[in-house]
C-alpha cells in the first residue's frame, strides 16, 4: 500500500534526459538560430538571464521551500561577482596594479587582493565567500529565532550596509565605479571576445542544470520535507526534536552560494560589476522572479527569471517611463491574483498533476482568518 513511489527511478531518468536535451539544445541549438535570425546580441542576453536563473533557484530554495524571505541576496551576488572580477583585474604583468588604483594614488595592492591571483582560490571564493557570509549572518539571526518580516528587513539592512561599504571604498575596490571585466584578459584573450563569451555561455547553461539538480536533490528528500516543515510550522519542528537553526543556516548558505555563482557568471557576461548589484530593487527583483514563475517549483524559478528579465529588457527600452509602473503592477498582480505564479496557473489547467507541495505557507496562527475581512465588498 505504501509503495506508490515505485516509478520514481523511471521518472528521475526521464527528468535527467529532458534536462540533458534542453542543455544540448540551449548550448548548440539556440546560438546558431539567433545568429541566423540576426539577433546575435540576444545570445549574450540569454546567457546573462540564465545566470540570473541560478540566483532565482537559490531564492526559491530559501523562500519558496523554507519560507525565508531574504531581501539581501544582492550581497551574495556582488560577492561572487566581485571575486571573479578581482581575479580578472589581476591578469596583468606582475608588479603592475589594476589601472583604477592610480586614480586614488594607491601604490600598494590592498592585502585582500593577493589571494585572487590564484584561479583556484577565486573559484572557491565565488562559492564559499557568499556561503560563509550567509552562514555567519544567518547563524546570528536564526539562533535568536528572528524570522518572518524581521528577517526580511534585517537582510535588507545588511544589504544597505554592504552597499555602503563597497560604494564608499574607492581605494580598496574602486567604489561606485565598480570593476570592469570586459577589458581584462583570461587565458591570453580578451574577456569580451567571442570565444571566451561562448565558453561562459556554455558554462552558464551547464551550471543552471547543475544547480537545478542540486536543488532537486535538496528538496525531494528528507531535507526538503524538513524545509517545508520549517516554513509551515517551525515551532512544532522543535518539539519533534529538530533544531531549525541548523537547517536554516545550511539552506541560506547554499542559496547564497548559488546566488554568488550567478553573480560571477552575470558579471563576466555583462562586462562590469558595480555596487548597484546591491541596490534594494535588484534583490527584491530576485524574489519577484520566483513569485512570477511559481514559488516552491524549481522550473518556475528559472522560467520566472527569464520571463521577467526579457520583459524588462524589451519594455524598459521602449517605454522607460512606464517600466516602473508595469513592474509595480506586476508585484501587485502576482501577489494578489496569481499567488502560485505561472506554474501554479498552468497547473490549474489540470493537464499536469497537481503539486504535492502548495506554494504558500499557512496562515500565521494568531492572525485572524480571512472571512472576517471579506465583509461587504462585492
Amino acid at each position: 500500500m505504501l509503495n506508490l513511489r515505485l516509478s520514481r527511478p523511471k521518472a528521475l531518468l526521464l527528468e535527467v534526459g529532458v534536462v540533458f536535451l534542453l542543455v544540448l539544445a540551449t548550448v548548440f541549438g539556440v546560438p546558431p538560430l539567433l545568429t541566423a535570425a540576426g539577433q546575435a546580441y540576444r545570445i549574450n542576453l540569454l546567457g546573462r538571464f540564465l545566470a540570473l536563473a541560478i540566483a532565482a533557484l537559490g531564492v526559491d530554495l530559501i523562500w519558496g521551500f523554507t519560507g525565508l524571505l531574504s531581501l539581501g541576496q544582492g550581497i551574495f551576488f556582488a560577492l561572487g561577482g566581485y571575486s571573479l572580477a578581482m581575479h580578472l583585474q589581476l591578469q596583468i604583468p606582475t608588479g603592475q596594479l589594476p589601472d583604477f588604483f592610480s586614480l586614488y594614488g594607491v601604490s600598494q595592492l590592498p592585502w585582500f587582493w593577493y589571494p585572487y591571483y590564484s584561479f583556484g582560490f577565486t573559484l572557491a571564493a565565488v562559492v564559499l565567500l557568499p556561503a560563509l557570509t550567509a552562514a555567519l549572518l544567518g547563524y546570528l539571526v536564526f539562533r535568536n529565532r528572528i524570522r518572518g518580516v524581521y528577517f526580511a528587513i534585517l537582510t535588507q539592512a545588511a544589504l544597505i550596509v554592504f552597499f555602503n561599504f563597497f560604494n564608499g571604498q574607492q581605494k580598496l575596490i574602486n567604489g561606485t565605479n565598480g570593476l570592469k571585466t570586459d577589458t581584462t584578459e583570461l587565458f591570453g584573450q580578451l574577456v569580451s571576445s567571442q570565444p571566451i563569451q561562448s565558453a561562459f555561455y556554455t558554462c552558464t547553461v551547464v551550471l543552471v542544470a547543475v544547480a537545478y539538480f542540486l536543488c532537486r536533490w535538496l528538496t525531494s528528500g528528507r531535507f526538503g520535507r524538513i524545509l517545508v516543515a520549517v516554513r509551515d510550522d517551525e515551532t512544532r519542528l522543535r518539539f519533534s526534536g529538530y533544531n531549525p537553526t541548523g537547517f536554516k543556516v545550511v539552506v541560506f548558505a547554499i542559496a547564497a552560494a548559488l546566488v554568488g555563482v550567478a553573480g560571477a557568471l552575470y558579471t563576466v557576461q555583462s562586462g562590469i560589476i558595480t555596487p548597484d548589484a546591491m541596490s534594494i530593487a535588484f534583490s527584491i527583483d530576485m524574489v519577484i522572479w520566483v513569485a512570477v514563475g511559481g514559488r516552491g517549483t524549481l522550473v518556475g524559478a528559472i522560467l520566472g527569471a527569464l520571463l521577467v528579465e526579457f520583459a524588462r529588457n524589451n519594455l524598459s527600452d521602449q517605454f522607460p517611463e512606464f517600466w516602473l509602473f508595469l513592474q509595480g503592477a506586476l508585484f501587485l498582480l502576482v501577489v494578489t491574483v496569481l499567488p502560485g505564479g505561472v506554474i501554479g496557473w498552468v497547473r490549474t489547467w489540470r493537464i499536469f498533476p497537481p503539486p504535492t507541495v502548495t506554494t504558500y505557507p499557512s496562515l500565521e496562527v494568531d492572525l485572524e482568518p480571512e472571512d472576517d475581512q471579506q465583509d461587504s465588498r462585492d
Binding site: 520535507r225 517545508v228 507541495v357
Partner: protein, 248 residues
C-alpha cells in the same frame, strides 16, 4: 527520587510579575497515566510549556529521569524523550501523513542525517504498524491539510509516538471531537499507557473518567489536590474552584 520519571521542585513561572505557576511540586512515576485538570488560567498549558522548554522557569527546577532540564532547548528536551501534543492539532499540513510520521520518527535529526539518510529498514514496518494503531492507513499518502480534525488529532498522537519518547505530554486530546472519536482517542491513550508514561491535560470530565487513574487538580498555578477521580470529585475545595456543582 531518581526512580520518578518527572519531578518538579518549587517550580515558579512569572510573566511580568504575574505568576502562572507558583511553587509547583509535582512528580510522576514511570509508566503512570496522569490526568491534570483545572479551571481556565490554572496554568495547565504553561506547565507543559515549562517542561518542554518553551518557557524558562523563573525559579525552581524540573528533573526528567533525574536530569535537570534547565536551559535546555525544546529540541534537546524532545530528544531526551519528552513528546508533546498541542492543544490544537499541529501537524505539517503540506506533508502527507506518512511524511509527518517519518519526519517525527527519523533517528538522525541533524542536517547531515537528513541529507544522507541511512536506508530505512525497520522504519517502514514500524511506521506502517503505527499507522494501523492510529487508524490512518487509508490516508497515508494524502496531505495532512485534507484530514478531518479528529484525524489530525490522531495523526499528531501518532507523530508523538513515532518519536518514541518515554514521557508523553498530551494537551486536550479530545477537544472538538465527537463522542465516538473521543472513545477512540481514549482507547489509543490507554494502549499507549502500557508502554509509556503519559501526562494528559483535559477538560472533558467524561473522558477523564474513561482514562484516569490518578488525577491532579491545578488551581492558580499550584496543586490543589491529587487522588483518584472519585476522591477528587468529592473534595470540597475542587468543587468550589472548578466543578461548581458535582455532576450526577
Amino acid at each position: 527520587m531518581t526512580s520518578k520519571i518527572l519531578v518538579t521542585e518549587n517550580l515558579t513561572v512569572s510573566f511580568d510579575g504575574f505568576k502562572a505557576l507558583k511553587n509547583l511540586n509535582f512528580s510522576l512515576e514511570p509508566g503512570e497515566l496522569r490526568v491534570v485538570i483545572g479551571p481556565n488560567g490554572a496554568g495547565k498549558t504553561t506547565f507543559l510549556d515549562v517542561i518542554t522548554g518553551k518557557v524558562q522557569p523563573t525559579s525552581g527546577r524540573i528533573l526528567f529521569k533525574g536530569q535537570n532540564l534547565r536551559r535546555q532547548t525544546e529540541e534537546q528536551i524532545s530528544r531526551l524523550g519528552i513528546g508533546r501534543k498541542f492543544q490544537t492539532p499541529r501537524v505539517y499540513l503540506n506533508l502527507t501523513c506518512w511524511q509527518n510520521l517519518e519526519l517525527s520518527y527519523h533517528a538522525r535529526k541533524s542536517v547531515w542525517g537528513t541529507l544522507f539518510p541511512r536506508p530505512p529498514r525497520d522504519e517502514r514496518r514500524h511506521l506502517g504498524h503505527l499507522l494501523e494503531i492510529i487508524g490512518l492507513v487509508p490516508q497515508a499518502q494524502s496531505r495532512a491539510a485534507l484530514l478531518s480534525h479528529g484525524e489530525k488529532q490522531r495523526l499528531e498522537i501518532g507523530m508523538l509516538v513515532a518519536q518514541s519518547p518515554n514521557l508523553l505530554l498530551v494537551d486536550e486530546p479530545v477537544a472538538g471531537l465527537t463522542d465516538e472519536e473521543t472513545g477512540k482517542v481514549g482507547e489509543l491513550l490507554l494502549t499507549l499507557a502500557e508502554t509509556h508514561s503519559i501526562l494528559v491535560i483535559e477538560h472533558d470530565m467524561e473522558f477523564v473518567r474513561q482514562i484516569a487513574r490518578q488525577v491532579t487538580v491545578l488551581h492558580e498555578g499550584t496543586i490543589l489536590c491529587e487522588g483518584t477521580i472519585e476522591q477528587v470529585q468529592a473534595d470540597p475545595r475542587v468543587i468550589e474552584v472548578y466543578l461548581g456543582q458535582p455532576q450526577e
